[in-house]
C-alpha cells in the first residue's frame, strides 16, 4: 500500500521515540518554519574542531518532520563535517528525486535510517517536511563555523 511506503516503521519509530530531542548548548541556533503547514524547528549545532559534537533541537510538526530531525541527530552527531555535509547533500538529492531514485547499496550505507524517507520524495507536499531540519542544520553549521572563526 502507498501509505506504508511513506510511513515506514523506521520513520514511525523515530517519531514516537525521537533521538537527541531538546535544546542543549551550541555554537549557533536557527529557527526554520514550513509556512504551508506550520512545522517549526529550533536547532542548535555545536562543533568540536571539524567534528559535529552535537545537534540539539526542539520543534513541532508532523511525523515526517519530527522523525527526520531524529534521524539527522542520530546520523550526523560525531561525524566529521565533510562527511556530514556529504550525507546532507545525498539526503537532499534523494528527497528531490520525486521517487525516481532507487537508493543503491552505497547510498544505503551512507544514509542508514534516512533511506527510509525515499518514499516521502514521491509526495511533493511532504518533501519540505522531511528537509526542514536538514536545511536548518546546514544554516546553523555555516553560522557556527563563522562564529568559531571569529572567536
Amino acid at each position: 500500500m502507498r501509505l506504508e511506503s511513506m510511513y515506514q516503521d523506521v520513520i514511525l519509530d523515530h517519531y514516537k521515540n525521537p533521538h537527541g530531542r531538546g535544546l542543549r548548548p551550541g555554537d549557533a541556533e536557527v529557527h526554520h518554519v514550513n509556512p504551508t503547514c506550520g512545522d517549526e524547528i529550533t536547532l542548535r549545532v555545536r562543533l568540536d574542531g571539524s567534528t559535529v559534537a552535537d545537534v540539539s533541537y526542539e520543534g513541532q510538526g508532523c511525523s515526517i518532520s519530527q522523525a527526520s530531525a531524529s534521524v539527522l541527530n542520530e546520523l550526523l552527531v560525531g561525524k566529521e563535517l565533510a562527511e556530514a555535509r556529504r550525507i546532507q547533500e545525498t539526503f537532499l538529492e534523494l528527497m528531490q528525486s520525486k521517487g525516481r531514485l532507487e537508493p543503491d547499496d552505497a547510498m544505503e550505507d551512507l544514509l542508514e535510517d534516512a533511506v527510509a524517507f525515499a518514499g516521502v520524495s514521491k509526495y511533493p507536499a511532504r518533501v519540505k517536511c522531511a528537509l526542514l531540519s536538514w536545511m536548518a542544520w546546514k544554516e546553523a553549521t555555516a553560522q557556527a563555523q563563522v562564529h568559531k572563526e571569529a572567536a
Binding site: 502507498r2 501509505l3 511525523s63
Partner: protein
C-alpha cells in the same frame, strides 16, 4: 428534492438531493488510489465546477471571444455583452442597487487590497494616515490582515483588532474602545474560513458608522453558501471570489457603494479605466471601469455568471439549509471520535460549513495524508489564518468543509477515515 436518507434517524431534514446535483460535477466521479471514491471536503479552499460553468466558458471561447468594450465587430460586441451580462447577474445575485457598483477583480485578495489602496491614496474624509486607525479581527484570512499591515506601515496608521473568545467567536465586549472616532475602516470576515464562525454584522456596522468609519466585509466564505444581500448587510464594501462558488479561478468581485466608488481614487492605471489621456494627465472612466484597468478576465466573468445562474437555480436558501443540516450532522458525528477537539463553534448556530479540528497529538499533516489515502480530501495547516492557531495554542488544524454536493455518506466516510487515522498512529 430531499435526500432519501433524510427521514432516517439521526439525519436532519433540509438536505438537497445530492445524488442529482453530483451529476452536474464531472470531477466528483473521480476514483483515486486503488479504487477509492473521491470524497471532496476542501470546499472552503475551492469548490468544484458544474458542467454548466465549464460549458459556458467553452462556448465563450469557441464562439464569442474578442476583447471587450472597444471593437465594433460582431465578436467584440458579443464578448462585451457576455462580460457585462455577467456583471448584471452578479449584481442581481448580491442585490446590488446598481450594476455599476460591481467591480471585477482577479480574486478576493485583490478586492481587499484594492480597498486598502483606495483609502491610502484617498482625500479626506476617507484618507487613512497617521493619527487614524484601521480595525480588523484576529480571525481574518491573511488576505484581510496583510494589506492592512502594509497600509499601516506605509501611512503610519494604527492597526487594531478584535480578539476571539474561547468558543471561537469575536470578542465584541470592548467594541466602543476598539472602533473609535479615529477609525477610518473596519474590515472583517462574514464567515471565518478556519473557525466557521458567522459574525454579527449589525453590531459592528452600527458602531463603525456611528463614528464615521467605512466597513468592508470579506464574504469569500459566505457568498457561496447563503443569500448574500449587500443592502441588508449595510456595509460599504463587500469582497468575494468566484472559484469558491462554482465559478472559475481568476475572477473576484468587489462591491462598493456608488458614491464611494465615485469619490475614491483608482489604484491600477491602464487601458479601459480612462476617459481621456494626454501626456500630462488623464481623466477616468466612471465606476466600475475606473477600477478595471487592462483587459479583464472575460471568460472567467462569463463562468462566474454561469455559476451564479446555477446556484440561483437551486436556490441559495436551500443550499444554506442543506449545509446547516449537514454541519449539524457532522458536528454530532465528529463528537463520537475520541480525542477530537473542534476548533470553533461546537454547534451549528451562526456557523458555516467549515469545521476545523485537532485529533489528539496526531499532526494535521499526518491526518490529511492518511485521509487522502482513503480518497478523502481535506485541508491541513493554518489555513492562511495563523493568528487563530496561535490564539488557540495549536500548530495547525485539519479542516473539512462542505458544499451543496456534499452528502451525509461523505461525512460518515470522514468519521470512518479518522478512526483509521487513529489506528494507524495508535
Amino acid at each position: 428534492m430531499t435526500d432519501a436518507r433524510a427521514g432516517l434517524p439521526g439525519l436532519p431534514a433540509g438536505l438537497l438531493d445530492t445524488e442529482a446535483i453530483r451529476k452536474d460535477f464531472p470531477i466528483l466521479d473521480r476514483v483515486l488510489h486503488d479504487g477509492k471514491k473521491l470524497v471532496y471536503l476542501d470546499n472552503a479552499a475551492s469548490s468544484q465546477k458544474p458542467r454548466q460553468v465549464l460549458d459556458a466558458m467553452n462556448t465563450y471561447y469557441e464562439r464569442h471571444h474578442a476583447n471587450v468594450h472597444r471593437g465594433v465587430h460582431v465578436l467584440a460586441e458579443e464578448a462585451t455583452e457576455l462580460y457585462e451580462g455577467a456583471r448584471d447577474k452578479v449584481a442581481a445575485f448580491i442585490n446590488a442597487p446598481s450594476r455599476d457598483e460591481v467591480i471585477f477583480t482577479k480574486n478576493a485578495s485583490e478586492s481587499l487590497n484594492l480597498v486598502a489602496n483606495m483609502l491610502g491614496w484617498a482625500d479626506e474624509p476617507y484618507r487613512v494616515d497617521s493619527g487614524t486607525e484601521i480595525v480588523i479581527t484576529e480571525m481574518e484570512h491573511h488576505s484581510n490582515i496583510v494589506p492592512w499591515q502594509l497600509l499601516a506601515q506605509r501611512t503610519g496608521a494604527r492597526l487594531k483588532w478584535f480578539g476571539l473568545t474561547d468558543e471561537g467567536r469575536l470578542d465584541l465586549s470592548t467594541i466602543d474602545g476598539i472602533i473609535t472616532e479615529r477609525t477610518k475602516i473596519v474590515s472583517f470576515t462574514l464567515v471565518s474560513n478556519i473557525l466557521g464562525t458567522l459574525n454579527p454584522v449589525r453590531e459592528i456596522v452600527r458602531r463603525a458608522h456611528e463614528v464615521g468609519a467605512l466597513v468592508l466585509i470579506d464574504a469569500s466564505q459566505a457568498a457561496p453558501h447563503a443569500v448574500l444581500d449587500v443592502q441588508d448587510l449595510g456595509a460599504d464594501f463587500v469582497a468575494f471570489t468566484g472559484h469558491k462558488m462554482c465559478g472559475p479561478t481568476g475572477i473576484g468581485v468587489l462591491w462598493g457603494r456608488h458614491e464611494l466608488l465615485e469619490d475614491l481614487p483608482p489604484f491600477l492605471g491602464g487601458g479601459e479605466m480612462i476617459e481621456t489621456v494626454s501626456m500630462n494627465s488623464s481623466t477616468y472612466a466612471p465606476a466600475p471601469h475606473k477600477f478595471e484597468a487592462g483587459t479583464p478576465p472575460i471568460a472567467q466573468a462569463v463562468g462566474l455568471g454561469a455559476a451564479v445562474d446555477y446556484l440561483s437555480g437551486i436556490g441559495m436558501d436551500r443550499i444554506a439549509a442543506h449545509e446547516h443540516a449537514l454541519t449539524e450532522y457532522a458536528l454530532a458525528r465528529l463528537a463520537e471520535v475520541p480525542e477530537l477537539r473542534i476548533i470553533g463553534p461546537a454547534t451549528a448556530e451562526d456557523r458555516g460549513a467549515a469545521i476545523s479540528f485537532t485529533l489528539g497529538d496526531i499532526h494535521p499533516h499526518d491526518v490529511g495524508q492518511v485521509l487522502d489515502e482513503q480518497g478523502i480530501a481535506v485541508r491541513v495547516g493554518h489555513h492562511c489564518a495563523r493568528p487563530v492557531c496561535l490564539r488557540y495554542g495549536i500548530p495547525a488544524t485539519t479542516r473539512a468543509s462542505f458544499y451543496l454536493y456534499t452528502s451525509p455518506a461523505e461525512v460518515d466516510a470522514l468519521v470512518d477515515g479518522l478512526e483509521y487515522v487513529r489506528r494507524f498512529f495508535g
